[in-house]
Assembly symmetry: D2
Homo-oligomer: 365 residues x 4
C-alpha cells in the first residue's frame, strides 16, 4: 500500500449504512408491510443515483463550454462524458421493465400512503432538464404549473436560479457560432449548397405531384409540408427570415450555430469536425433517450393506474402523454436531416480548405 | 443416426443460398454502391423474418382459441408462445439502435433509388396488426388510406380477407365471455365490489378537492376526469350504459369479457386464474411493445429525414407520430387498472369458491 | 387524502438526503478529485441496492418454502418474485456497459486510494449466494479463503450463521421430494421411461460411432462422454448408484427431488405442474444470469487492470475466471436436459392421472 | 421521382419471396411439424444475415487498411463501421434470449432430423473469425479438427485461401508499427516511462507483501504473478526479450505496434490519437462481445442438451466451454491495462510535440 494512504473498506467506502438503511416502507406505518413497496422505493432511489451521475457529467460539460476557449483535448473528454450519459439513459429505459414486474394491484396496496408525493418533485430531474436547456416557456402547461405549486420554496429558488444560468444548449450554441471556418473562406460553399438544395426540393415536389397513391387531400397536405420545408431552406440564406422563424419557435439555435452544425454534418469525416460531429450526435441521442424515457414512463403509469389519479392527486398520464410530444431540447439537430445533401451532391473541398480541416502532422508531410 | 433420416447440412437446411443471395443494392444499378444500403436491406430483412416468426405464433394461438373448448394444456402453450412474441418484440425494439448507426447523410446516398418503396407496404406487418385485432375503423386516417392505394390488388385482397376472419382480440373476448364462474356463484362478488369502489372513488374525489397544489383550472380538469372515471365504473354494473360507452369506443371488449378479465385480475393468484392472468398480461405487453416500436421508429425516421419526404413520397413522420397514439388494440386491458381494488379491499372468497378455483388434487386432500 | 395519513413528500420518502449524500471521493482526500471516481461509487451503490432488492425477494421466497405446506396461491407469488429477480439480474448484466465507459487510465487515477477495498467484501452478494444455496465446499478455493480473511468478525459471523440455515436449494429440494404424485400412481411411468431412454441412448451411440467427421481421438472422447451419460441414466433407477454419484458431486439434488423435477419437466403443460415448471425454469435462469454476471465482470476487470493486482491486493481476474466455471448452484436443473424425452416418446397419461393433474373445475364438468 | 429511376417496391426490393420462402421444416418430412422448428430456423437465419452484415463491414475495413496510406477521413469511416459491428454483436447476444424461449423438450421433438448439421459448419462465422485474425494455431483443438472434417471441399478451400490473406489483426499491427511519432521525437518518453513503471511495480510488490488477508500459498501465487508482470514490463524495453515472449504467445502484436498502441492509450485525448484510440477500443470490444457470445451460446447449449450429444454428433458444450477461454484475438489490447500509467504519473508533453499531435488550424493560431 502506498504510504500515507489509510486503508479503505468496501462497506465504509460506499457508505452502505446510509444506502442500505434508507428504505422505510410507508405501508408499515399504517398497516401490514406491502411487499412491493420495497421495489418501488429502490427503483426510484436507483433512478436518483443515476440522475446524480448524469448531473455530474452534465455539470462538468457545462464548465468546459463555459470557457472562452475549449481545448481540443477537452472536447475529447466532453464527448466521452456525453456518451456515458447515453449509456446510463439506455439502462434507465430498460429499468422500466423492473418496475413493470409490479402489478397494478400490488401498487394499490400502498398507493394511498404516498399522497401527495410525486415524481414531479424530483429536483434532480428538473435540474437535468434545465441544465440541458429546457426553457420554462417550452414546457408543456402542466409541467410549468408544477414549478410553482408542488415544490418547497428552497427547491423552487434553486431551480429558478439555475434557469438564469447558461444551459448546455446556450453554451453549445455559442461555441458553434464562433466556429471561424465559414466566415474566413473565400470558397463559396453556401452558393453551391443553395443550388444543390433547390434541385433536391424540385425533385421532391415532382415525387409528390406524380404520386398516384395519395388521395387529393393527402397530396394537398404533402405539398403544404413541402412548402413549409422550402421556407425553412430559404431562411438558411436570409438572416431576417431566419430570425422570424426562430421567433415562431421553428428554429431554436442561432443562425450562425445552425449553419456551423450543418457544415459539420456535411463534412463530418474531416478530422477537425470529427469530435464536433460526435458532440452533435450525442446531444441528439440524449434528447431521444430522454423522450423515450418519458414515453415509456407514460405507458407504465397508464398500465399501473389506468385513468385513476396518481399519488400527486392528478392523473399524471395526461401530462406524461403531452410531455413526450414537446419537452424536446435539441430539436434543431433532430430536424437537421431536412437540410442535408448526399455526399455526391456536395462540392469537393479545395485542397487549401481540406488542409485547414486536417491534422498538423499531415499538413506538413 | 436414426434409420431413414437423410443427412442434413447446415447451409442447405437454412437455405443460405437464398437468404444470403437476396441482397441486391439499388445504388449499384445507378451509381457507385452505397456502402450503407446493405445495412438498410439486411435490417429490413431481419424484421421481416421476425414478423414471420411472430405470425407463426399468432396464427397458432388464433387456431387454439378458434375451438369450442380450449384445453388447459393448450393454454399453457398459448402463454408460452405469446411470451416468445414479447421476447422477439423487445429485440426488435433494440434493433432500432442498429439502424441508427447509419447517418442521415449515408441514407441520402441511396434514398432516391428506393422510390416509391415504403415500410407501409410490409404485408406481414399489416397481417400482424389485423390478426391481433386492429380494426380498419380504429386505424389513423393516413394508415387507412394506405390500404387502398399503396398495395397490389393481390395483397389488398389478402388483407381484406383477413379482416373478415376473427382476430385474436375477437376470440379472446369470446373466450373470456364464456367463463362460467361469475354467473353460477351465489356469492355476490359484484355487490361487494360496487360498495368498495364507491368508497375508493369518494376518497379520490376528496384527494383532488383538497389538493392545494392544483390551480383552479387544473382542479376543474381533474374533477372532470374523475367524473368520467365514475361513469365508467357505473357502466360496469349496467349493461345498457356499458353498451352506450362501447359505441363511443370507450370500451372495446364486450361487457361479459371485461367483467371476467376484471375478476381474473383481482384474484390472479388462484390456480385456475393463473394462466388467464398471464394471457391478459402478455397481450397487454405485446400491445405496449408494438406501441414502443412505432414510437421509436417515428423518432428514427425524423432523425433520418427531418421533415423531408420519405421514399414513399410522403413525410412518414407525421403519420408515425399519430399512429403511436392510436393504433392500440388491447386498450381495455391497459385501462383496467382503473377498476382494480387493492387486495385489502377485496372480500375473502368463500371456501366453496376457492375450492372451485383450485386444483383437483388439493380439493380432495 | 385518506384520513389519518400524513402527507408524504418525494424527497423525504426516498430519503434522498442519505442516498445522494453518500458519495465521498477518496481521491479528494489525497489529491485532485478524480472525475470518474463518482461513477465508480455510484455504479457500486446501485449494485448494492439491487442486491438488497434481490435479497428481499429471496428471503420472502425462503420463508414461503420454509412452511410445511406451500399453498398454490403462494406458489404463484413465488414465481412472480423469482421472475422479478431475473429481470433485475438482466439489468445488472447490462449495467456492466456503464462501468466500461470508464477507461483503464481513468481508473488508475484513483485505484491506489481504494486499497484494500474489494468487491469480495460485499456482504450482500455473499448472502445472496449462500441464500440460494452455494455451499462453502463448492466454492472455488480463492473464494473460500476470502471468507476467513477479508471480512470483519461480525460479517463473518453473520455469514456463517446464514450457512447453517436452510437455503433455497435445500428447501426446494425438500418440497420437490414430497410431491406425492409419483408414489401413489399405479401407472408405471418409470418403467416406460426406462425403455424409451435406453432406445435414445442406443441411437446416440450409433450417431457417434458412424460419425466420420470425428478423429479417432475425438470419437474416443465422445464415447467416454456417452458412457458417463449412460451411468447417470442408470443411477436414476437405482437409489444406491444415485447416492454414490451424488457423493462425487455429479448430482446435488436428492434422488426423489430429481425424479419429481424430471416428471414436472416432461409434463409441464399439465395444470398442476405449470407453476412448478416455471419455478424450476426461473431458478435455472437465475443461476445462468449470475454466471453471466461473473463472467462479464471478469472480462471487465481484465480490461481495466490487465494482469495488474486489484485494490484488494490480488489479481482478481484469476479468481473471477475460476468462479465463472464453478460457483453454480442449480446445476442439476441445467443438466436435466440430458434425461428428457421428446413429447412423442412419452406415454399418453391415463385419464385418471390427467384428471389428478388438472383443475377441480374441469374434473367435475 | 428522379428521371430514369425505375419504381422500386418494398417486397421486390427486399426479395421477400426468397427470404420468407426459405423455411422448410425437417420435422414435416418425417412426422408432424414441430412448432418450434420454425423458431430454430429463423433464429439461425437471422444470425447468418447479421454475419453477412458484419463481414460487409470487416471486409471494407480490411480494404482500407490494406492500402499504403490510410487517410484520416477513412479512419473516421473505419471507426464508425467497427462501432456498427459492436452494436450488431450486442443485439446478437441479446438474441440468445429468443432461442431460450424454446424448452429442451421442444428442441428434442426435431433434433434427430437435423443430424449431422452443426453450427460449426457456418462458413460465415469462420470467415469472420479468420478475417479478424484468429490463426489456426490459436484455435482450440476441437475447433481445429472441424476445419478438416466437417466442411465440404469448396468451403475448406475458401477458408484456407482466406487464412493466407492478411487479417485485420495483421493489417492493424502493420499500421500501428509504422506510426512515425515515437521514433522522430527527441523527447524521451520511454526513459521517463521506465522510471515511473518501476515505481508502480515496487508499490504493487509492497501491497502484496503487506497484505495480511492472503494465505501463504496465495501470497506466493500473487508474487509469482507479479514476477511475470515484471518480465512483461522488461520486455517492453528490450526487443530480444519481447520477441522471446512473443514466441511463447505472451504477446501477439509486434514490438513496434505494441509500443504505438501504448502511447496512443496514454495520450488518447490528443487530437491525432483520438481516432486510433477509438479504433483500439472498438477492436477490444468486438473481441469481448464475441467471447460473450460464445459463452452465452455454450450455456444455452448445455441448457438445451445437458450432456447429450448435439446434432453434429458430439457434445458441443465441452468445445464451447473451451472456445470461450481461448479463441481471443486482440488479447494484447485487453492486457494493455497492465502497462498503463495514471495521467498524474505521465510527463507533460513538450509544446513542440503537443503541436504535432494537434490540428493544423490550432497550430497556426
Amino acid at each position: 500500500m502506498k504510504k500515507n494512504i489509510e486503508p479503505c473498506y468496501y462497506g465504509d467506502y460506499l457508505q452502505l449504512d446510509k444506502i442500505l438503511g434508507a428504505q422505510k416502507l410507508q405501508s408499515e406505518k399504517y398497516s401490514d408491510a406491502a411487499h412491493e413497496e420495497m421495489l418501488f422505493i429502490i427503483v426510484h432511489q436507483v433512478y436518483e443515483l443515476w440522475f446524480k451521475q448524469i448531473l455530474h457529467e452534465l455539470n462538468a460539460t457545462i464548465d468546459t463550454f463555459n470557457q472562452e476557449v475549449v481545448k481540443d483535448q477537452q472536447l475529447t473528454q466532453v464527448v466521452y462524458r456525453l456518451q456515458r450519459v447515453i449509456t446510463i439513459q439506455r439502462l434507465m429505459n430498460d429499468q422500466i421493465a423492473v418496475m413493470e414486474t409490479m402489478t397494478p394491484q400490488q401498487f394499490l396496496s400502498f398507493r394511498d400512503y404516498l399522497v401527495p408525493a410525486s415524481g414531479f418533485q424530483s429536483i434532480q430531474f428538473k435540474r437535468l432538464e434545465i441544465s440541458l436547456g429546457l426553457k420554462r416557456e417550452f414546457r408543456v402547461d402542466f409541467d410549468k404549473q408544477s414549478f410553482y405549486s408542488r415544490l418547497t420554496d428552497d427547491d423552487r429558488a434553486l431551480l429558478e436560479g439555475l434557469e438564469k444560468k447558461p444551459s448546455l444548449f446556450d453554451l453549445v450554441d455559442k461555441w458553434l457560432s464562433r466556429m471561424p471556418l465559414l466566415k474566413t473562406d473565400d470558397f463559396d460553399f453556401w452558393e453551391y449548397y443553395k443550388k444543390a438544395t433547390a434541385e433536391m426540393l424540385t425533385d421532391d415536389h415532382d415525387t409528390i405531384s406524380t404520386n398516384d397513391t395519395l388521395s387529393t387531400a393527402d397530396k394537398r397536405q404533402e405539398l403544404k409540408d413541402w412548402q413549409s420545408t422550402k421556407e425553412n431552406f430559404d431562411a438558411l440564406f436570409d438572416h431576417e427570415k431566419f430570425e422570424k422563424l426562430r421567433k415562431e419557435d421553428k428554429f431554436r439555435l442561432s443562425h450562425e450555430a445552425l449553419l456551423s452544425a450543418l457544415f459539420i454534418k456535411q463534412y463530418s469525416e474531416e478530422p477537425v469536425f470529427n469530435l464536433p460531429f460526435q458532440l452533435i450526435t450525442a446531444l441528439t441521442e440524449i434528447d431521444e433517450q430522454l423522450t423515450i424515457w418519458r414515453y415509456r414512463h407514460a405507458m407504465m403509469v397508464q398500465r399501473m393506474l389506468g385513468t385513476k389519479i396518481g399519488t400527486g392527486g392528478s392523473s399524471g398520464h395526461h401530462y406524461l402523454k403531452r410531455t413526450t410530444e414537446s419537452n424536446r431540447i435539441f430539436l434543431d439537430f433532430f430536424n437537421m436531416a431536412t437540410f442535408l445533401l448526399p455526399k455526391s451532391a456536395l462540392p469537393e473541398l479545395p485542397n487549401a480548405i481540406k488542409r485547414k480541416l486536417g491534422f498538423y502532422l499531415n499538413s506538413i508531410s
